[in-house]
């Protein structure tokens, strides 16, 4: 029988982020509990915190399970309930890890090349337990800040070179200084956790994994600018993050870190949570303010900037989640520690959500200035399908642009990205291979921005709509001579004249794909061909005799009986019967439908 004592330090951690839960982590936890109980082993099966991608940002291999014994960690990947018994039997009882199920070199490559500051604690500490955060030095940064003069705090942040992670990359210290200078009595600090970029989930993971770091950042910021009230504006679509924030705020209040007389310093600070209601535009500062005030989220022109006239007309600093959670360590470790990471103008690390046609998708944290190549090949493990080649990378989500494969040696920092027509954005990074159509991609992003346009100003409201219509007709084979120029003229004018950042950046995906992949646009318009064979209307619906392997999947998929096929015969499509639904195309594993 197992000796209870020898297993005293056994810890089993299971991811319960959204990604993990989708992959069945609750079932895995239940199974572990059952298996251990059956063998009378007492172990702490912990719900391992965090991010919806799973604890380590590596949810392509979910469910990930850590088995920690005697300080040694073994990580299993792709765990399903039926695997649990064997892990318990062989590893926990007999002490022989099940090698074939352990994570492979991918996993190590994925982690070893990252520089984790913000994500370090995600997946390690219990996000719902303030003592866990305090045990690793949590709230020391806030204590330090409150022992300094507010201006000294601003000075530290300014010399650290920290820039906003919410998109525009404005120097955080400078923004604070503007707000600090105002002599108004009431001021606000707002944490922007609206994270609406499709493809981005960094902020959510930080909040789910380490909510106290955000709260601590807000205390530091609030003290520095002289704000006694903080708001966290968070998407209602993030229920887990909201719940963890509520718990964290409650615990911090109990400890006296929030409320009256924070850390007995005489500084009062309260935080409230405001849930968004589903509008991307509310990530924009002035729209966000309107939304907190209970209005339609319409932006208003700046100046005046929120630091002068913000929430309820009072000076207001708005910072992104990631920006704020950088602050505790900047205060404890010092400005020069922070500014030693990164490049001359972009300091520190940046968290990206790496997705698309890449092998290792997930959340990564890398130093500013790292090259795209390192991200894609060293961390990301290269293309998802080995026979595909990298075409481009989209950064900055719908506000950004694409970076073609020829530029992947480029460093990832604010200025470089802008110089190439993209931007840092909040950190979405989508990898595209040669099966991605760039016109379709641009159209996709514009559909998003068009839907999310608030409708206040003409260029964005009508302009993005018209651009989308032009793109749509191009992808449907109805493109016209002159469409590309029209897109460029309209795109340029929308950028110049729109009221807010949404319209000012909405044309970027179009302009940058025209810039780097103009030939693809021309192929659509002039030759009626979609080189990536994505655009349905431009498919020819013939079977390439060269590529066809005679599997007959297209035959079975076709709803209208247009595919002619017999065993050991190449398929042929009867043009008369074909309804161009694309079913055969989706079914063919070899890409032989042209």
């Amino acid at each position: 029988m197992v000796n209870d004592n020898s297993l005293k330090d056994l810890v089993i951690r299971v991811c319960v982020g959204t990604g993990g839960l989708a992959a069945g982590s609750q079932e895995v936890i239940d199974e572990f509990n059952k298996a251990l109980a059956a063998r009378k082993v007492r172990a702490a099966v912990r719900k391992k915190c965090v991010g919806k991608t799973g604890c380590r940002g590596f949810c392509a291999k979910d469910v990930l399970v850590d088995v920690v014994r005697n300080g040694k960690t073994f990580t299993y990947q792709l765990v399903s309930p039926d695997k649990v018994n064997r892990i318990v039997e062989e590893h926990i009882i007999s002490g022989n890890p099940v090698d074939e199920w352990l994570v492979g070199p991918d996993y190590h490559a994925f982690h070893d090349r990252q520089t984790k500051i913000l994500l370090k604690q995600c997946g390690q500490i219990d996000p719902e337990d303030i003592t866990a955060y305090i045990a690793i030095g949590g709230y020391e940064g806030a204590k330090k800040a409150l022992s300094l003069d507010p201006f000294e705090v601003i000075d530290v942040v300014r010399t650290s070179g920290l820039r906003g992670r919410g998109g525009a990359g404005f120097l955080t210290g400078l923004k604070w200084e503007f707000c600090h200078k105002s002599r108004e009595k009431t001021k606000y600090i707002i944490c922007n956790a609206d994270e609406g970029d499709p493809g981005a989930f960094m902020d959510r993971s930080i909040i789910e994994g380490n909510p106290h770091s955000v709260i601590e950042g807000m205390i530091i910021g609030g003290y520095a600018v002289g704000a006694n009230y903080g708001y966290i504006y968070i998407r209602a679509e993030y229920p887990l993050a909201i719940q963890r924030l509520r718990t964290a705020i409650r615990e911090a209040e109990k400890k006296g870190f929030l409320g009256k007389n924070v850390f007995k310093s005489g500084f009062d600070f309260d935080i409230r949570i405001k849930e968004g209601a589903g509008a991307f535009i509310c990530g924009e500062e002035t729209a966000l303010i309107a939304s907190i005030e209970g209005e339609r989220g319409l932006p208003r022109p700046k100046p005046p900037f929120p630091v002068v006239r913000g929430l309820w007309g009072k000076p207001t600093v708005i910072n992104n989640v990631e920006t704020l959670s950088n602050l505790p360590s900047i205060l404890t470790k010092g400005a020069s520690w922070f500014s030693s990471i990164g490049t001359a103008k972009s300091k520190g690390t940046k968290v990206f959500a790496l997705t698309g046609k890449i092998k290792n998708t997930g959340l990564i944290e890398v130093p500013m200035g790292i090259s795209l190549k390192e991200i894609i090949y060293d961390i990301g493990g290269g293309m998802e399908k080995t026979n595909r080649r990298l075409k481009a990378v989209q950064t900055g989500g719908p506000s950004g642009g694409c970076i073609p494969a020829s530029h992947i040696d480029m460093p990832v920092d604010y200025e470089s990205l802008i110089s190439i027509g993209s931007m840092m954005g909040s950190g979405g990074m989508v990898v595209m291979d040669d099966t991605t159509c760039m016109v379709d991609m641009a159209r996709f992003f514009l559909t998003f921005t068009g839907n999310e346009s608030c409708g206040k100003c003409i260029p964005c409201r009508v302009g993005t709509k018209r651009m989308l219509e032009i793109l749509t007709r191009i992808t449907e084979g109805r493109g016209k001579e002159g469409d590309i120029d029209l897109l460029m003229e309209l795109g340029t004018d929308i950028k110049l004249s729109s009221l807010c950042g949404l319209g000012q950046s909405a044309p970027n995906p179009v302009l940058s794909t025209i810039n780097f992949f103009r030939d693809e646009y021309e192929a659509h318009i002039k030759d009626g061909i979609c080189p990536a064979r994505v655009c349905k209307s431009l498919r020819r619906y013939t079977v390439s005799a060269e590529l066809c392997r005679m599997c007959g999947k297209c035959f079975r998929a076709c709803p209208s009986g247009a595919v002619i096929w017999e065993k050991k015969q190449k398929a042929v499509i009867d043009k008369e019967k074909c309804i161009k639904c694309g079913a055969c195309y989706d079914a063919c594993p070899f890409g032989s439908i042209l």
Partner: protein, 354 residues
Amino acid sequence: MSDRKLKITINGIEAACEKDETILQVARRVGVRIPTLCHDDRLEPYGGCRLCIVHVRGVPRPLSACTTPVADNMAVTTETNTIRRIRKNLIELLLSNHPNDCMRCEKTGDCALQDLSYEYGVDGSRFEGEKWNLPVREANPFIRYEPNKCILCGRCVRICNEVVMAGTIDLTGRGFHAMPDTAFGKPRTLENCEFCGQCVSTCPTGALTDKKSIGKGRAYEMKKVRTTCGYCGTGCNLDLNVKDGRVVKVTSAYDAPVNHGNLCIKGRYGYDFIHSFERIKSPLIRKGMKFVTASWDEALEVVASRFKALLKKYGPDAVGAFSSSRCTNEENFLLAKWVRTSLRSNNVDNCARV
């Protein structure tokens, strides 16, 4: 020195200005015209139409003149090639979602969109695509709303909320499908709407029009006769729009000293009586059970003699006068003076107190 503390230049013209002024305000003062669509002096600056964008030295992106506060040494240029091109494209975009049926539109000749298209030489639109195709709303006696002509300047919504404070309408939806509307798209009724027509008065296009005046004439055919509203003592200035000797519409100009172009339902729409057959045009004296037409002299003679008789019999305390709230201040003053000096009574009041 005056309290105009800042100095800026607009198209090279130097202008002294105050801290809280916008570029648009200063430009107008020095006589530089900047096109606008969403701006109305009665409302808070909005910055939605972007027509008023101007170039400010050192700023890479054009700024909206109607919302941007001046700063010392600002150098503003109101027209550059780029800005002209952008304005032209903005108008073209508006026309791409517009019925463009000016020939039959009520607003022709008085339409900001039409004027700007003319000024910027926009002929039609290069953009084809989805257009609004929404039904006209006119289930109410005064206001015709044709959403397809709306350019989303938000002026109707803002005047209804900021000035009238009725909150009848708000912007609804978002993006391309945003539009001003009542709650749940219900018709305007006396329950939710004042029918002040303020929204109509600020609408720069033919989206909101006065139902009573439809088909009664173009703006340029009307002679505007300025008068003071007879309904109450506020003293709003009205412009009676007269065509062929008949009042067909009432408007009010921004420069009206008391009301700045604002009117209520009575002043704006209550003009039917002017040409009514039932209108009483001369005094009537009751003889037995009947009213008999009389001249002013006869009527005044009756009033004066009765007053005299009453005064003689019962003294000044027995008589008094009650003036109408439709009288102006001056008329009220005259009445009070007459009661005190001629009747020697203090019994004078006004119905507005009830």
